[in-house]
Every structure is written in structure tokens, then in C-alpha cells.
């Protein structure tokens, strides 16, 4: 599903050159649930950004669903992300000025989707994460766990084939974290969604299919 070949990422400022990733090659199979672990600063987030086409590698090649992504224009990349990818962030990144339902339907706004369809899909997504009773609330009125569940609903509402999660349980306590993990596992097992999760939590990571460790920009396991 996701094929990385010799990915290298260098950050250049006026004075310093940082090598964030040095020659990573890996493959994520369709339907796989992959965990990526490593100490702070090892390049996990960078790897996820590159997989999510949010950032371009300095060298190397990515193929998603057998499609080359190097030569795609900004608009084409945007469309690609919209159709194939879903994102979950550590700090949720919900829009505080929009109600829960409006937050969830956000990805659908950038597709040709009628209002009725959007509402339907968004409500269905919220049901899947168990938040149907919070549809008209604002994010500021929700707990951390609830916020992350909204974010998950948003990530799945467009039925993407791949979900990229950056430390989804990082800001949650153990109970809420487990809840979130349950939902992700459910999605992976029952809907066949490919998930790549960056995490610090070894306990959570063990529940997934495969674990990859990064250290100073290189894969070590």
C-alpha cells in the first residue's frame, strides 16, 4: 500500500543542516496496522508527514497504492490526500468555532458531496466512535478523549484507505487512551483500514501487527 524507497529528509536553515531521516526504505501492506516508535527527535513525525504527503523528501521515492507521487502538483496532491488519507493528531486540531458535526464533515467539503450526503456520512462516522449524542456541541465543551474521538470520526468520514495517527493517545489518560485504541483496532480489523501509528506507548504498540523503531533517522528494528 505504502512503499518508501531510500527516503532521506534534510532540514536546512541558514546555519545548520539537520538530517531528520537517512535512507529509510520500508513497505506497509494493505490492511496492516503499523506502529512506529523511538525517542524524541528521532524523526517519527517527519516519517509520518512524508507518508501523508504533507512534506516532500529531499531524496527518495514514495508510492501510495502503486501510484508515484513525485510529480503530482499541489492541487493533485490535495485531491489525493482527500480521497485516500485520514489524519489524527496528538493535539486533535479541531476547529473550536465549529460544532462537532461540522468538524467531522470537513474533509467532505473538499469533494463533490451534497449537503444531505455530508450530514449522513458525518453522523454515521460519529456513531462509529460512539459520540452521536454530542453532535451539536462545540469542541470546548468536550473532554480530551471525546475530542480525539471526534478527530477519529473526521479522519474516517471520507472512508480513506489509510489512516496516519501521530501519537493519538499522547494527551489522554490510560482509560481514554484505551478507548481510542479500541476504535482504531476495530477500524483496522473490521473495515480493513491500513493504519500507521506513531506512539510512545509500548503497551499500545504491542497490540498492533508490526512495530518499527527509529533512532536518529534510521530504522533499527
Amino acid at each position: 500500500m505504502i512503499l518508501l524507497q531510500n527516503i532521506q529528509k534534510v532540514y536546512r536553515t541558514d546555519t545548520v543542516e539537520t538530517l531528520a531521516l537517512s535512507s529509510i526504505s520500508m513497505e506497509v501492506e494493505k490492511g496492516e496496522f503499523l506502529s512506529v516508535m523511538g525517542p524524541s527527535g528521532c524523526g517519527k513525525s517527519t516519517l509520518l508527514n512524508i507518508m501523508g504527503l504533507l512534506d516532500a523528501p529531499t531524496n527518495g521515492n514514495i508510492k501510495i497504492d502503486d501510484q508515484d507521487t513525485d510529480h503530482l502538483s499541489d492541487t493533485q496532491l490535495a485531491q489525493f490526500r482527500n480521497k485516500k488519507l485520514g489524519f489524527i493528531f496528538q493535539s486533535y486540531h479541531l476547529i473550536n468555532d465549529l460544532k462537532v458535526l461540522d468538524n467531522v464533515e470537513l474533509p467532505l467539503l473538499y469533494r463533490n458531496c451534497s449537503e444531505k450526503q455530508r450530514k449522513q456520512l458525518a453522523t454515521a462516522a460519529l456513531e462509529k466512535v460512539g459520540l452521536s449524542n454530542r453532535v451539536k456541541h462545540f469542541p470546548t465543551q468536550l473532554s480530551g478523549g471525546q475530542k480525539q474521538r471526534v478527530a477519529i470520526a473526521r479522519a474516517i468520514v471520507g472512508q480513506p484507505e489509510i489512516i496516519l495517527a501521530d501519537e493519538p493517545t499522547g494527551n489522554l489518560d490510560s482509560a481514554m487512551g484505551s478507548d481510542v485504541m479500541e476504535i482504531l483496532l476495530y477500524l483496522n480489523k473490521n473495515e480493513g483500514t491500513t493504519i500507521v501509528m506513531v506512539t510512545h506507548d509500548e503497551h499500545m504498540a504491542r497490540k498492533t501487527h508490526r512495530l518499527v523503531r527509529l533512532f536518529d533517522g534510521s530504522q533499527v528494528q
Binding site: Q79, F89, H93, D97, R154
Partner: protein, 394 residues
């Protein structure tokens, strides 16, 4: 998508309130300015009604104290003949003090169908008046010698007065009464109104009555149509002629072009000052709008990064931000138009409705353009935000 933007703006109404107020007040200010400009422009486009080049005005007073009216008349007739015989003079007319572009006004009332109308400009002029000023005849004719013994006092009116009294009906041949409805006056001609208060003021209803033998006693102005090559030397000679003929009078010779320039100053100068002040205010608002919008972008970096992650293209994001400003502007302009539309509805200042409506339209376009311009650059900045960086900024 539009509905989505509406929701965003409505939910942030507290934050957007200041911006909204600024847009509203700017609209009202621009509306005031445009109203004035449109009014002046509309007046400017109206025909002048006369030709002011080469017309000189002689102001005199107190000239002859002769008791006998006939001898008095003879003195003036002789004076007119002397002046007319000068090679540079092409026409001469005696008139009451309320000449075009003067500060003098002489108003009175008329009665028609038992309805009295006041504030009509009343001019007392002789047979040569329209020739000297090159006035435009619309219907009927001007005065001639035969009118001296007419049964009903003959008068000429301008089309403004005709509309005021008769509306769309015919005016020629009809009889109206003076203010007290004592004297009957018959309309023998209709002329194009003259812009007596300058290029930028509107025309006023006017009535011309013919001088009679007793008029010379109180008239104080002579209009002269001179050849284009009449210069200061000729004027000096003319002045001496007049002063020597009317030894007890103060004489002043002015050029109608100068009087027109002076009276136009009265409208132009305040208008220019207003434009400068308004210009500065708008620049101020534009800068402020720009700054606030730019700041907003920075605040919403996380949201912008998210939208990009979720599949919005750069163009979509900048389009969204520009649209948000435009929608906010629409709210403000809607409220503003509500206030502005009261002016024509309540007929404030007696300005024609078309002036107000045009001004509203122009102001709407102006403010929309302003908001558009001020949000284009910040919008572009938004599109340039790296989602990867924005989403991980904490």
C-alpha cells in the same frame, strides 16, 4: 461551502464584531462622499443654459436722480446707444441685480389654481437679455416691443418652473397670478434653465418679467457681450465712458467667467478638502483591515494546516479566507445599506433619489473592492503555509 463559511463567521461573531463595525462605518463615510460627488456630477452634466465667455457685467448705482421718468429713460437709452456703437461691443442688456453667478437673489411667489408657490427666482430683464447670454429657447418666444402694451403682463419662464407648476402639461399661453394673486401674467415663452449658482449646483425655477419705463430707476446691472479681442485697454476706455456719463455712480466691471470661477470655488474647495480627508480615512481603514486579516491568518495556522492535510488545495484555502472577508463585508454592507436607503426614502436634503441610489451602488462596489484587495495578500500567505510545520507548532 458557502454555508460552511457562514457558520464559521457567525460562530466567531464576537471577534469579528470590530471588523464588522469598521466596515460598516467606512461604508457610511464613503456613502456620504459619493452622494456629494454624484450630486455635483449630475449637476455638472446638466446644460449650462447660457454662454459665459465674453460676457462682461457692469455694476452701477445711484446714477441719475432725474424726477421725470421719460427723461430718465432717455438718458439710459442714449447710454445704451453709445455703448452699442463701440466696435468691440456685440450686445447689451439691462437687468436686475440677480444675474447668473451672483450672490444676489430675488425671490417671490406665484399663484396658480389658487395654490401659492414661493421661492421662485424673479428676474427683471430687457428684450436683449437672451441674446447677450445665448440662452436656449425651448418653446414660444422672448419679449419684444409690442409686449409693452399687452393686456396681461407677459412673462417668460424656465422649464424648471414649468414642471413645478404644470407638471407634464403645456404652459404656453396659460395665465398665472403673482404671489398675492392680484396681477395676472401670461406665459409667452419657456427657456432652458440657467445654472445660476455655478456648474455644480442644480438649476432653480425662474420667471422673467420685462422691464418697463419705470424700471431704469432701480436697475443696477448691465450685461455686455463683447468681441473675443476686447482687452484691458478697451475695458479701461469703457470704464471711463461709463464713469463720465454717470458721474454720481460707483462703477465696477467684472467678467462673467471670473464670477463663475469664484462661485465654483465655493463648491470645489470644500469638496477637495472632503476628498483628501476621506482618502486618508480609507487608507487608514485599508491598512487596518490588512493588518487584522494578516494577524488572523497567523492565529489560524493550525486550522489552515489541518485543512490542507484533509485535502484542501492552496488555492482553496486562500479562496476561503478571501471569501470569509467578503461575507463579513456583505453583512456590514447590508446593515449599512439599510441606513443609507433611509435617505432617499425620507427625501433628506431634497436630493433626487437617483443621486442616493447611485451613491449606494458606488459605495458598495468600492467597499467590496477594498476588502477584496486587503484580503488577497493575507490569503496568499495562508496558501503558503506548510501544513507539516503548522500542524506541529506548539
Amino acid at each position: 461551502m458557502i454555508k460552511h463559511l457562514f457558520k464559521l463567521i457567525w460562530n466567531k461573531k464576537k471577534q469579528n464584531f470590530l471588523l464588522f463595525t469598521e466596515m460598516l462605518v467606512s461604508f457610511l463615510v464613503i456613502f456620504a462622499v459619493f452622494t456629494l460627488l454624484v450630486y455635483y456630477y449630475q449637476n455638472y452634466k446638466k446644460p449650462m443654459g447660457l454662454a459665459y465667455d465674453n460676457v462682461w457685467v457692469v455694476d452701477y448705482n445711484n446714477a441719475f436722480q432725474t424726477e421725470n421718468t421719460d427723461s430718465l429713460d432717455q438718458l439710459y437709452v442714449t447710454l445704451a446707444q453709445n455703448i452699442r456703437s463701440l466696435p468691440q461691443v456685440e450686445g447689451i442688456s439691462f437687468t436686475s441685480d440677480n444675474i447668473p453667478f451672483a450672490q444676489n437673489q430675488n425671490t417671490g411667489g406665484i399663484t396658480y389654481n389658487n395654490k401659492r408657490m414661493d421661492n421662485i427666482n424673479w428676474y427683471t430683464v430687457d428684450d436683449d437679455y437672451p441674446e447677450v447670454l445665448h440662452m436656449q429657447l425651448l418653446e414660444g418666444r422672448w419679449f419684444n416691443k409690442a409686449d409693452a402694451i399687452a393686456k396681461d403682463k407677459p412673462i417668460v419662464i424656465n422649464s424648471d418652473l414649468k414642471e413645478k407648476i404644470f407638471g407634464q402639461d403645456n404652459a404656453l399661453g396659460k395665465t398665472i397670478g403673482d404671489g398675492d394673486n392680484k396681477q395676472k401674467m401670461k406665459i409667452i415663452g419657456v427657456f432652458q434653465p440657467i445654472k445660476i449658482k455655478g456648474d455644480f449646483a442644480s438649476t432653480e425655477a425662474g420667471l422673467y418679467s420685462r422691464t418697463d419705463t419705470g424700471s431704469y430707476r432701480w436697475l443696477g446691472k448691465i450685461l455686455l457681450l463683447v468681441k473675443p479681442d476686447a482687452d484691458a485697454a478697451f475695458e479701461g476706455g469703457l470704464y471711463k465712458l461709463l464713469a463720465n456719463y454717470m458721474k454720481n455712480s460707483n462703477i465696477e466691471i467684472e467678467h462673467l467667467t471670473n464670477k463663475r470661477k469664484n462661485i465654483n470655488y465655493f463648491t470645489l474647495v470644500p469638496m477637495i478638502v472632503l476628498l483628501i480627508v476621506a482618502g486618508f480615512l480609507i487608507v487608514n481603514v485599508a491598512l487596518g483591515l490588512f493588518g487584522v486579516l494578516w494577524y488572523n491568518i497567523n492565529q489560524r495556522r493550525g486550522e489552515i494546516g489541518l485543512r490542507r492535510a484533509v485535502g484542501a488545495s492552496g488555492k482553496s484555502v486562500s479562496g476561503q479566507l478571501v471569501s470569509e472577508s467578503m461575507i463579513l463585508a456583505t453583512f456590514a454592507l447590508f446593515i449599512g445599506s439599510f441606513f443609507a436607503v433611509q435617505f432617499p426614502l425620507l427625501n433628506v436634503f431634497d436630493l433626487p433619489t437617483s443621486v442616493y441610489l447611485t451613491a449606494i451602488l458606488l459605495s458598495l462596489v468600492f467597499i467590496y473592492l477594498l476588502v477584496l484587495l486587503c484580503s488577497l495578500y493575507p490569503g496568499k500567505q495562508a496558501a503558503a503555509i506548510y501544513p507539516a510545520v503548522a500542524l506541529h507548532e506548539e
